[in-house]
Structure formats: structure tokens, C-alpha cells
């Protein structure tokens, strides 16, 4: 059939639809400009900036202790890991060696954050493909982690528990007991997730072979975290460049080679198991010692450039500090995992249906404040 071109971008059967900034599937304020032919996606253009708070610029104003609390507000689902990234960068620049206790506690809390994040993602994933009950089952289990955080750090989401040089205060006496309780509880609930959603034939049909991303594309788009690992790209920073106490634990890097939405889904489910294994290895032998080393009240980084990367729940978070020797960074850049993962949305969604777009966007596990910063 001959198609008449209305302008350079549109064919006559195609139409344009605005998904977001307020849309249930965009998890926040992401705006997607979709070009659709019937139900088939022809083009996806993400439009960002609706929750831009210029965190990087604010960091240039703040002292190094104050920067940490801003990172809570970037990827709020893995706020502890973000905090850890900045603290590690500052500690490496100052060449401070933090006590073993701090390293172990940071790792435990980081892995718990990862479980909490993946857990929430699982609930939302179910909701995006239409199974609304998953959300509540996920929140039931996530609530236990939040309680652990609240008891130790005082906050449930934006903890700000790490400071350059260690932790703000020691763990709560109940911490070990509660974490063990959670692990026993969650080990019975995680198989239930599989029975309810993973094995469901409708879910499998929705996920398998959808949102294909080859390893080459994953690397060239800069995908990291479960998105990259779902395509067989071994990119776990915890394995490649271990930080904190991660070099002392044994765990498997969750890796799938299929590269479809279901592979990314499976990677996250397996990561929850691996994170539990890491916590189990560390929780019984938290070494005694100080929970922080004394730093100067005003931290001045030596002149130079410093980079630290960590593995957040979404992928590789890089903190790049340029210091001129003053108490504020000259420039601070966050390499956020969500931004590069979002950039491949067009690549994996084109050719699919609207439902596929929603499902594959859910497997990217986007947190919009992380993308916009």
C-alpha cells in the first residue's frame, strides 16, 4: 500500500501519543513521546527533566559531608548504596582506611537495600503486566527491611547512614536478630513469588522474546546492572572491582544470555537470592571495632580527580569528583545507571505492542529521580 507522507517524520497511518509525565506505567514523571501505528510502537522518545533538581550543581555548593544526603534523593530505592559510593570516593581521595566493622556493615546494609529495591521492582513489575496482587506481597516483605533500617538508621527511605570515614552511629543491638528473622522469612516467600508470577503462563508469554537486547547493544548503549547481565554482559562491579567487604564473600554473578525481558526478570530474582547469601555470610561475624574514624570537621580533598563506582540495584553508579583542594568539589558528576538504561528503551521497544513497551520498561527498573538528578 502506498503511504503518503505528511511530514518528514510521520506516515499517514502513524499517530503520536504522549505517555506521561503522569502515567501509571512511567513510575514517576517520565514522559515518553510515542509514535504508534495501530498498536505497534514505531518510535519512543523519552523526554526528561520533569524532576530535575540540579543535584550535581548543589553538590558544588556543599561540603563533602553534606553531599552524601543529596545522593539519597537520586536513586531513592538504593539510597544506602549511593551514600556508600560518595563516602568511598571521599575516603579513597583522603586515603583513609575505614575499620573492618564499617566495611561489613556497609555491605550488609547495601545488600539489604538491593533486596528491598528488587522486591519493590518485583511488585511493580507485576502491576505493570496487570497482576495487581504482587504489589502487596512485595510490600509485606519489604516492610521488614524498612523496619530494620528505621531501627538502625532512623529513616526508612533516605537513610543518610554513611558519612565519610564510617557510619553515623553504630548498628542497633537488635540489628543482627532482625536481619536473621528477615532472611528466614524471605527464604519462604521468594519461592512463592515464582509460583505466583514467574511460572505463570501468561506472564511467561508476556516476557519471553520481548524487548530483545543483544550483548553488543547492551555494551554500546552503556547498559549496566541487571539490564546488562540479562544480555550476558558480565558487568557486576561487585565482582569486577570489589569494594567494602565484598571481596571477602563468595557469591555468583547472576547472568543470563537470552537478552529478553524474562532474562532481566530472572537476573533480578536470582540477585535477591545472591544478596541473601552475602548477608548470611557476613551477619554472624561482624567484627568488633569503631564505627567511624575521625575526620576533620572540614574535609578538604587533595587537588585532583577521583572516581569511584559501585553496583546499585539498578547498575553501575559512578561518582566523579574534581577537586581543587577546597572544601567543596569543583565539579561532581554522577554516572547514573538509569540514564543509560533508559537510552536503550527505544531500541528494545520498537516493533512491539504498547503492552510490550510497558513490560520491557518495567524490566529496565527505572527510577526517574535517578535519571534526572
Amino acid at each position: 500500500m502506498e503511504t503518503t507522507t505528511i511530514n518528514n517524520n510521520f506516515k499517514s497511518e502513524e499517530y503520536f501519543i504522549n505517555m506521561g509525565p503522569q502515567h501509571p506505567a512511567t513510575h514517576g514523571v517520565l514522559r515518553l513521546l510515542l509514535t504508534i501505528d495501530g498498536e505497534t510502537i514505531k518510535k519512543v522518545e523519552p523526554d526528561l527533566g520533569y524532576i530535575h533538581r540540579s543535584i550535581e550543581k548543589m553538590c558544588e555548593r556543599d561540603s563533602y559531608q553534606q553531599i552524601v544526603h543529596l545522593t539519597d534523593r537520586m536513586d531513592y530505592l538504593s539510597s544506602n548504596i549511593n551514600n556508600e559510593a560518595v563516602c568511598l570516593a571521599v575516603e579513597n581521595a583522603l586515603q583513609i582506611e575505614v575499620p573492618e566493622r564499617v566495611k561489613v556493615i556497609r555491605t550488609i546494609i547495601g545488600e539489604l537495600t538491593r533486596i528491598a529495591s528488587h522486591n519493590l521492582w518485583w511488585g511493580v513489575m507485576g502491576m505493570d503486566v496487570g497482576a495487581l496482587t504482587t504489589y502487596f506481597y512485595a510490600f509485606r516483605d519489604r516492610e521488614m527491611i524498612n523496619d530494620i533500617f528505621e531501627e538502625t538508621c532512623g529513616a526508612r527511605l533516605t537513610m543518610n547512614y554513611n558519612i565519610p570515614g564510617g557510619l553515623m552511629f553504630d548498628i542497633h543491638p537488635n540489628f543482627v536478630k532482625r536481619v536473621k528473622e528477615f532472611i528466614t522469612h524471605f527464604k519462604t516467600k521468594l519461592p512463592e513469588y515464582d509460583t505466583l508470577l514467574t511460572n505463570n503462563v501468561i506472564f511467561q508469554k508476556r516476557m519471553r522474546g520481548v524487548g530483545m537486547l543483544s550483548k553488543e547493544d547492551a555494551i554500546s548503549y552503556g547498559a549496566s546492572g541487571p539490564v546488562g547481565r540479562g544480555s550476558g554482559y558480565s558487568c557486576d562491579v561487585r565482582k569486577l572491582h570489589p569494594y567494602s567487604a565484598l571481596d571477602k564473600v563468595t557469591f555468583n554473578e547472576a547472568l543470563r544470555t537470552e537478552g529478553d525481558s524474562f532474562a532481566r526478570y530472572e537476573v533480578r530474582i536470582q540477585e535477591m537470592w545472591e544478596s541473601m547469601a552475602i548477608v548470611e555470610q557476613l551477619i554472624d561475624n561482624i567484627p568488633e571495632g569503631d564505627y567511624q574514624v575521625e575526620t576533620n570537621a572540614v574535609i578538604k580533598l587533595p587537588k585532583g580527580e577521583f572516581y569511584q563506582k559501585v553496583e546499585t540495584a539498578r547498575g553501575e553508579l559512578g561518582v566523579y569528583i574534581i577537586s581543587t583542594g577546597t572544601k567543596n568539589p569543583y565539579r561532581l558528576k554522577f554516572r547514573s545507571p538509569g540514564f543509560s538504561n533508559l537510552s536503550l528503551l527505544n531500541h528494545i521497544a520498537v516493533g512491539g505492542k504498547i503492552g510490550d513497551l510497558v513490560a520491557s520498561m518495567a524490566t529496565l527498573d527505572l527510577v526517574i529521580p535517578d535519571i534526572d538528578r
Binding site: 499517530y15 501519543i17 502515567h23 501509571p24 506505567a25 498498536e39 507485576g126 502491576m127 505493570d128 503486566v129 496487570g130 497482576a131 495487581l132 496482587t133 504489589y135 502487596f136 506481597y137 509485606r140 505466583l196 508470577l197 505463570n200 501468561i202 506472564f203 508469554k205 508476556r206 505492542k353 504498547i354 503492552g355 510490550d356 510497558v358
Partner: protein, 354 residues
């Protein structure tokens, strides 16, 4: 007048003694219409409450529990709120069709309600092509949805409406064929006679294997007919926001909402009538008290509706092409095979009768 309006014979006779025949018929019809409107409203409101409660129990929640005893008046309060809300709309909407659409949906639901045999004699309109009438009426409802989506001047609503069209046209077929399978046993389309046939055993027992298949196919396609999860592509919250009723507010939205729940009731009651003996009690234990039939009917319908709610709160949604694959590649061929099987069983007199 040919209508067998026989809810209560006494009122019927009394009215016809009191006034001329034409007037009496009019008054009687008005009365019956009012009764059915009440049934409609009560069923709608009760089902919304039930759905919310059941959903809450599936999801480890409590559900509405503030308005009235254990939240029993919650939906009444919601309805009051919706009545008092402003009726908004889009600027360039096709105003006439936009306003017409909710009535299409609600009137078809009401019409289907009229032929359901709630109990012996409790049936407003015992037409001799009952099943055929139900199938025909239930396809008109989709016109309301299509109009709503088209006239809203909203692309999300339009996508929802188009999906609805595709979905209903496909699944009509399965609903019709699975009911036809059972018609092979009864040999009649009239609902009251179908019930009479089942005095020798419910049709799902009489027809055994093919009847169970037919029932499964009917429940799947019936769920799809009512646009409920896992077939709720028409609304598809995470994809289209609210689908065809995105631009509706207040009472107009409530009409769609109520109609959806009443349609669920209708689908479940057709299943009750065809497969589970309508108002007949199991083994005839309350045969001497025919008025108890209403409770048997509602009880059976409630169980089937619970099944549909169970589907909704467990399964993810299908994609539009998978929805069509399920219908055309699985349900339809199976259905046709099932009809042949049923025909063989009826021909060879292999039905189980007590």
C-alpha cells in the same frame, strides 16, 4: 399482550381487574422496570463492595471498613460522591455520542437482566429465544464502549475502544459456541425450559466431559466479554491509564463502572442457568419451597463471580495479540471439537440423567 410478565400473579390479576387492559399492562411494565432498576442498582453496588473486599482479602488487606458496619455502606457513599461530582469532558468531544455512550452500556446490561430466571415465575421476559437474545444483547454493549472511546477525543480512550471492539467480536464467538454446545442437550433456547430440563440433573452433570470443557471455555470467554482482568485490555491501567472511560467523570463514569459489574453478574448468571441448574437446588432438597430458588440462584452466581474475581486478582494481563491467539488458535478450535463431541454424546444417548 404476549409478554409473560409473571413475577407475581396476584398483582397482575389485580391490576387487570382494576383498569383497562392497555393501561394495566403499562402500569405493570413500569412497576417491573422499577423493580429491575432497583435490582440493577443493588447488584451493582453490592458487587463493587464485594470486589473490593475480596481483592483486599487476596492482597492481605482489610478493605473498606469505615462507612457503616464493616464498610457495608461504602459503595453507597461512593455513589453519592459520584452523583455530586462535576461532569467534565474534553473540548472537541462529540457531545451527543459522548453523552449517549454510558446509556448504551447500561441499557444493554439492564435488558440482559430481564431474561434471567431468578426463580420459578421470577422472570420478567421469558422469551422463547432466550439464549439467542442474551448473546445478541451482550454484543450491543460494546457499541457503548466504542462510542465512548471514539467520542472522547482522547487517543488513549480510542485505543481502549478499538481493543474492546476486537476483543468482543472475537470472544462473542466462544461464548456463543460454548452455550450452543449445551443447547444440544436441552434442545430449546427458552431459559425457563432449559431450567426444566435440568430437573433430571444439572447440565454440567448431564453433559459430563464436553460440558466441563464448555464451562471452562465459557468462563474464560465470559471474563473476556466483561473486560475484566486478565483480559482488561480495554482499561489496561498500566498501559492506557483508564482506557475508554478516561474522559468520563461523575455519574457517567459510574454508569460504566456499574455496568461492568452488572455484566459480570450477567455472565455468571448465564453460567448458572445453563450449567448449574439456575434456581434448582442440588438433588431437589428444597423443591417444595420454590421461592428459595432465588437464594440458590444468587448463591451459585456468587460462587462463579468469586471465581472471576479470583482470576482478576491473580493473573497478569494478556497482550492484545496473545488475546486474539488465545481465542482463534485455542478456544475456537477446541470449542468446535467440543460441539462435535457433545453431538456424539447426545446422539448416542450417553448423557447422565437421574
Amino acid at each position: 399482550m404476549n409478554l409473560s410478565l409473571s413475577i407475581t400473579k396476584n398483582i397482575h390479576d389485580w391490576l387487570f381487574n382494576m383498569m383497562p387492559e392497555t393501561l394495566a399492562s403499562l402500569v405493570e411494565m413500569t412497576l417491573i422496570a422499577l423493580i429491575y432498576l432497583t435490582i440493577f442498582a443493588v447488584i451493582g453496588l453490592f458487587l463493587v463492595l464485594l470486589e473490593r473486599k475480596v481483592a483486599a482479602w487476596f492482597q492481605l488487606r482489610i478493605g473498606p471498613n469505615r462507612v457503616g458496619y464493616h464498610g457495608i455502606l461504602q459503595t453507597m457513599a461512593d455513589a453519592l460522591k459520584l452523583v455530586s461530582k462535576e461532569l467534565t469532558g474534553t473540548v472537541n468531544a462529540d457531545k451527543f455520542l459522548y453523552n449517549l455512550a454510558p446509556y448504551f452500556v447500561i441499557i444493554t446490561a439492564l435488558m440482559a437482566l430481564a431474561v434471567l430466571p431468578f426463580s420459578l415465575e421470577f422472570q420478567a421476559f421469558d422469551i422463547n429465544i432466550g439464549i439467542f437474545f442474551l448473546i445478541a444483547i451482550s454484543s450491543i454493549g460494546v457499541i457503548g464502549i466504542l462510542l465512548a472511546g471514539w467520542s472522547s477525543n482522547n487517543k488513549f480512550a480510542l485505543i481502549g475502544a478499538m481493543r474492546s471492539g476486537v476483543q468482543t467480536i472475537s470472544y462473542e464467538l466462544s461464548v456463543g459456541l460454548s452455550l450452543l454446545t449445551m443447547i444440544l442437550i436441552t434442545g430449546t433456547l427458552q431459559l425457563s425450559e432449559i431450567v426444566e430440563v435440568q430437573r433430571n440433573g444439572w447440565l454440567i452433570v448431564q453433559g459430563h466431559i464436553p460440558a466441563v470443557f464448555a464451562f471452562m471455555i465459557y468462563m474464560i470467554s465470559g471474563t473476556a466479554e466483561t473486560n475484566r482482568a486478565p483480559f482488561d485490555l480495554v482499561e489496561a491501567e498500566s498501559e492506557l491509564g483508564a482506557g475508554f472511560h478516561t474522559e468520563y467523570s461523575g455519574m457517567k463514569f459510574a454508569y460504566f463502572f456499574l455496568a461492568e459489574f452488572v455484566n459480570m453478574f450477567i455472565i455468571a448468571s448465564i453460567a448458572t442457568t445453563i450449567f448449574f441448574g439456575a434456581w434448582l437446588s442440588p438433588f431437589g432438597i428444597t423443591e417444595s419451597l420454590p421461592w428459595l430458588g432465588v437464594f440458590w440462584f444468587l448463591g451459585k452466581t456468587l460462587i462463579l463471580m468469586f471465581l472471576m474475581m479470583w482470576f482478576r486478582w491473580t493473573f497478569p494481563r494478556l497482550r492484545i495479540d496473545q488475546l486474539l491467539t488465545l481465542e482463534w488458535k485455542y478456544l475456537l478450535p477446541l470449542n468446535l471439537m467440543n460441539i462435535v463431541l457433545m453431538a456424539l454424546i447426545v446422539w448416542l444417548n450417553l448423557t447422565i440423567q437421574f
